[in-house]
């Protein structure tokens, strides 16, 4: 959040008074010769506007003029562009805060729109449900497909008693039906070439003592376990199963990092939508302990933390020390910002909840 407060001084080129800490003059665009504020690279102010989101509040409104350009430090104009280098400022992260569960999502740096979607629900028992879907960019209207899929899952599981894997299978079937119903026409970013909207899906239900999950494609779910013996205080285990060429290669003994970096390593082998060969979700359940956290995310996050160790390390930098209550919305937002700063190659969606009795209310 911090721009280093510096004493007000005039621009060396035109004499206009500078915004404290600015690296470029607002009036003439000349470099001021000042160093970039230390926090600027890792903590872009524009992304921080979503901080302090109230419960259930959708944070997405840009506050024009308040921010500085993440590239050059010059002020952002009322239209959302840098007044010096012209680059469009990154929008704030969309944060959905349900207190005991939350998710956050962002377009990232390279995609024109956010094709990821998230949703939250609670079962009749009060068990949190995390839902994350990643629209397939190589298909028409992927953003509509992912939005339709998560909404269908939330409707299928929300407010109803959860009775086990069959309910998850039913929710995935509802998501598939919703994705199939999305029209292929009308996407300005994709030609009408016969392909149909497609998306991935991960759903997590945090029941008493165990986590149930279903996934199709490569959106992931991890269980985070507090472990004082671990380097960052956490261990992580992926509980979803990737439907990807990389995962298939790893199953046959390939090195996981090499498999992901191989051409086509990220290609998914299963998805939702009219072109999906057959939808067979991975269904599973795993025991959890009180204090564990459950994370669901799209590959926009896990591309930068592709292993359990990397996810655990990330959690160690984001989740407060023992005793402090975890603010799920804030952690989700910080993880999204971290992925944007890491490169933001893809859309990012991160959902998080806990397993303690308190968190479940």
């Amino acid at each position: 959040m911090s721009t280093t407060a510096t004493e007000a001084s005039p621009c060396p080129a035109c004499g206009e008074m500078l915004v404290p800490g600015a690296r470029f003059c607002e009036a003439c665009g000349a470099a001021t010769g000042r160093e970039a504020p230390e926090a600027a690279a890792g903590d872009p102010a524009v992304l921080d506007e979503a901080e302090g989101a109230a419960a259930g509040e959708v944070v997405g409104e840009e506050e024009p003029g308040a921010a500085a350009c993440v590239r050059c430090g010059a002020p952002i104009d009322a239209d959302g562009y840098c007044t010096s280098c012209g680059h469009r400022a990154l929008e704030p992260v969309d944060v959905y805060d349900g207190r005991s569960l939350a998710y956050a999502t962002h377009r990232g740096r390279r995609h024109h729109r956010n094709e990821d979607a998230g949703a939250l629900a609670t079962t009749a028992e009060g068990w949190p449900v995390l839902i994350v879907s990643d629209g397939v960019s190589a298909s028409p209207n992927p953003h509509l497909a992912s939005a339709a899929a998560v909404a269908a899952v939330a409707q299928s599981l929300g407010g109803r008693p959860f009775e086990g894997p069959a309910d998850l299978a039913e929710a995935v079937a509802a998501a598939q039906e919703a994705a199939v119903a999305v029209p292929a026409e009308g996407d300005p970013n994709w030609p009408e070439d016969g392909t149909h909207p497609a998306c991935t899906l991960v759903v997590v239900v945090v029941a008493a003592g165990e986590v149930h999950l279903a996934n199709v494609g490569d959106a992931r779910a991890h269980v985070l376990h507090a472990d004082p013996a671990a380097a960052g205080g956490w261990t992580a285990r992926q509980v979803s199963t990737d439907d990807s060429l990389a995962a298939a290669a790893v199953a046959e003994g390939a090195d996981p990092t090499a498999a992901l970096e191989a051409p086509g390593g990220h290609a998914i082998t299963a998805w939702l939508g009219a072109d999906a060969p057959k939808v067979e979700p991975h269904l599973g359940a795993t025991p959890v302990e009180p204090g564990d956290l459950v994370l669901a995310c799209s590959d926009g996050l896990w591309n930068y933390a592709p292993t359990d160790a990397a996810i655990a390390e990330l959690a160690g930098t984001m989740v407060p020390e023992d005793g402090e209550p975890v603010l799920f919305a804030e952690v989700c937002e910080r993880m999204v910002i971290w992925a944007v700063d890491a490169g933001g190659m893809d859309n990012i969606c991160v959902a998080l909840t806990g397993t303690t009795e308190e968190a479940a209310r």
Partner: protein, 463 residues
């Protein structure tokens, strides 16, 4: 496409047409911005009507060559006709030009008279005394006009300049210096009578001074033309505005041209209005008038997925108020499907600009005796005129070349093409046609040609 305006009753609106998607590493951003003045100027507070606060100067060539044919008599009649239609209360003066300039009227020491029954009579009487004698030094005429306009506080300043010959008694440099000194001070419509004047010379004046240029081959048509010029000057009741173009750090404005109603290259007229912004003076506007501008901005390419504001176009009123804005954007993509599309407005006007150049180069080559180049260039012009449905220019081209195949641009130079036809084609080469709205153009054409298959609306050009 971006539209912005300052809300209800805005004096101007601006709209951008472009394909904002660029391939990775691409650095050239093309956009057409359409600027329209409100039809009801009363609505826009800052741009109020100012019909009386204007000054008109009529500059009449009275060099010796004007004595041949009916030129001097026609010029006198035309100047009188102009005086007839100048509205009551408007300041006006008449300059007689040969190898030097003299203030023909008023003769009583004032710079300007004021249009009234008495002053019009006096001015007409002075015009009647004109005699053709002496040489041609157009720069001196402009110098005198500039001194007159400098002495008036009139908001709208307009001149008509008539000549029948070349700027023989001055160096080209002297003329250029005179033109530059007038820039921004007044607008000037230029007319050449007969066929012994230089199109390029008058065009350099009219372009710099934001006016029109045309040939009046038949002296008998001069009076009507002068009346029309005064009328359209008086219709420009909105004060002069500037187009301000902001472009990001490191960007270069490669070109900025008015492309409709005619091509006027404004690139070199930029004046700095801040390190990242430059202003282009557009002159006065008539209520309801629309002009199109084509700009090319070279930017530092962003990464794939990044979006940049490549330009911000603002219309700046004379009091510094910004009347409207339009944004020009660039988004880099690795999707060739997006980056290779050409916006139809940009394509159309790129074609119209090429059409004007092809005509000017073709006529110049024909004059220089280079038949081969002339045939190629005028052939290309025929092709472009046909593609864009530019019927007026096509008609003028047919006076100069025999068209064998318009679609392929196959032409033969006409053996006995008249000089007047060549000059008319050259002078009017910059006039463009607008791209119709696709919906409107898709409506059935005039029932005169029922056999023609529909052309699919306005043809895409510049492919």
């Amino acid at each position: 496409m971006t539209t912005t305006d300052a809300g209800g009753g805005a004096p101007f609106t601006a709209e951008t047409f472009q394909n904002q998607f660029l391939g990775a590493g691409a650095d050239m951003v093309d956009a057409v911005v359409t600027v329209a003045a409100a039809a009801d100027p009363g609505a826009g507070g800052a741009a109020t009507s100012m019909s009386k606060d204007r000054a008109e100067v009529v500059v009449v060539d009275c060099s010796g060559s004007m004595g041949s044919g009916r030129k001097i008599e026609a010029a006198k009649a035309a100047a009188s006709a102009a005086v007839d239609v100048i509205e009551d209360g408007v300041a006006f003066a008449i300059i007689a030009g040969d190898h030097e300039a003299k203030l023909l009227w008023p003769t009583d020491g004032r710079s300007f008279g004021t249009a009234s029954l008495a002053d019009r009579d006096a001015a007409r009487a002075a015009i009647g005394q004109l005699e053709a004698a002496g040489g041609t030094a157009i720069g001196t005429w402009l110098d005198l006009a500039r001194r007159l306009f400098s002495s008036t506080g009139a908001e709208a300043r307009h001149a008509i300049l008539l000549t029948d010959g070349r700027n023989e008694h001055q160096t080209p440099y002297e003329l250029t210096a005179a033109i530059e000194a007038c820039r921004g001070l007044f607008q000037c419509d230029c007319r050449g009578v007969g066929v012994d004047w230089e199109v390029e010379e008058l065009r350099s004046i009219s372009t710099a001074l934001l006016g029109t240029v045309d040939i009046v081959a038949d002296p008998d048509e001069l009076a009507a033309d002068f009346r029309a010029m005064i009328a359209s000057s008086q219709a420009r009741s909105l004060p002069s505005v500037s187009l301000r173009l902001w472009a990001p750090q490191g960007a270069v404005v490669e070109s900025l041209r008015q492309v409709a109603p005619e091509v006027v290259d404004l690139t070199a007229t930029a004046t700095s209005s801040g390190p990242l912004a430059r202003d282009f003076l557009l002159g006065g506007w008539s209520p309801g008038e629309t002009r199109d501008y084509h700009m090319r901005i070279k930017v530092t390419p962003g990464g794939v997925g990044e979006e940049m504001l490549a330009g911000r176009v603002s219309l700046v009123l004379s009091d510094g108020t910004i009347a409207t804005q339009a944004l020009i954007k660039a988004t880099w993509t690795d999707d060739a499907e997006l980056s290779t599309r050409m916006d139809r407005h940009v394509a159309h006007y790129t074609g119209q600009e090429e059409l004007a150049n092809a005509i000017q180069e073709g006529v110049a080559a024909a004059k220089a005796g280079d038949q081969k180049t002339a045939t190629v260039k005028l052939g290309r012009a025929v092709q472009l005129a046909a593609e864009s449905g530019h019927e007026d220019t096509m008609r003028l081209l047919r006076e100069v070349v025999d068209v064998e195949n318009a679609e392929s641009g196959t032409v033969r130079l006409k053996a006995g093409a008249e000089k007047a036809a060549e000059m008319t084609l050259d002078t009017r080469s910059t006039r463009t046609v607008r791209l119709g709205k696709p919906e409107a153009a898709a409506e059935p054409a005039a029932p005169a040609e029922p056999a023609e298959p529909p052309e699919g609306g306005q043809p895409e050009t510049g492919a």
